[in-house]
């Protein structure tokens, strides 16, 4: 088999090289397609960026604007990352190409979008669940109970930051009446007023 051994590594080597090329080849477009600019290349996404600018997640704590991928694409490269990139990527392209991108059914999209935002991305910036979003004040007693239920210390909400924290970045029309969205809605209405003038 030794003789085969000499021939074999060459075949495996080629395979390995091809694999590396394929992965590198795939990684680059995957990485490139995970940037805000890429998202904005489709016109229908413009509205989402406008909303993001007025949302509590417009900028992070050192005033850098937050990109789409920081929430919608799982941080750690892995199976989730691949699933999101492939499943959502394919869906986006399909809708952009064959769907009706100009008037998307945001009410139907909301549950799907929330489904694919992983907690890991939220926890990337908000590590301490006993502190408020900026990590300064202690959260309210009710908030504490909720997070204990999230961590399954007291009761069990069965996962999901976005299961409770709604409209953190985007605010469709039908959600603007809720009292917890009042500031966000007011900022948005000011923005549309400016644009109309």
């Amino acid at each position: 088999m030794a003789q085969g051994g000499r021939k074999l590594p060459k075949k495996w080597l080629i395979l390995l090289a091809v694999l590396v090329v394929v992965i590198a080849g795939a990684a680059i477009p995957l990485a490139q397609s995970s940037t805000t600019e890429f998202c904005m290349s489709c016109h229908e996404m413009r509205r989402y960026q406008d909303e993001l600018k007025k949302s509590p997640h417009a900028v992070d704590k050192d005033k850098q604007p937050i990109g789409c991928q920081q929430c919608h694409v799982p941080n750690s490269i892995g199976l989730r990352y691949l699933t999101v990139k492939v499943v959502l990527g394919f869906k986006d392209i399909w809708v952009h190409q064959f769907g009706d991108p100009e008037n998307l059914d945001r009410r139907a999209m909301q549950p799907v979008a929330r489904r694919f935002v992983v907690d890991e991305n939220c926890l990337a910036c908000h590590q301490d669940l006993t502190k408020d979003a900026r990590g300064e004040k202690k959260i309210s007693p009710i908030g504490e109970l909720c997070h204990q239920a999230y961590l399954q210390e007291n009761g069990n909400t069965k996962r999901g930051c976005v299961g409770c924290h709604f409209n953190m970045a985007h605010l469709p029309e039908f959600d603007r009446r809720y009292f917890f969205n009042q500031e966000f809605a007011k900022r948005l209405s000011l923005q549309t007023a400016e644009r109309r003038r």
Partner: protein, 159 residues
Amino acid sequence: MTATGDNGPKPKKWTKRILWILAVLVLAVGVAVLYINLAFPKVRCQAVDHLKSPDQLGDCFQCHLKATPKVAQDWYESKHGVMLVKCFVCHGQPDGKGSVPYAVSPDVNTTCRKCHDPSIKKMEYKYGLKPVCTDCHPFHNNSLHHKAYVKPVAKKTVQ
């Protein structure tokens, strides 16, 4: 791969291979779908088992106004909210000791029938019984027609 007689009956070998490929494909898709449903659950918050804080337990609305503000406001502004049909009437008591069984999403047929039995019978006669009430009548925000009610939720408590 030891080659059997390479001029064996061609079609049988091909169909076997296609079948194999199909099986693998189906398996792959099945695994993918299973994985997606596991890794990315449809409903992100199911309150499988309610928190255990007895003193807080009584007043569902005060706590849920903070914990799940959307549902709380939907209920408050719905006709059930105006009529003070409070949470325990349909959902029961989280510790399960109440006379109404505890359910995050109560069984629509028995719960609605408690009050709306006559109108369900009338509907049943005229249009036939639709199994799930909430298909047409959304439970929390059964909307109220025109300006009949003060819409926005008043801040229940200052804090």
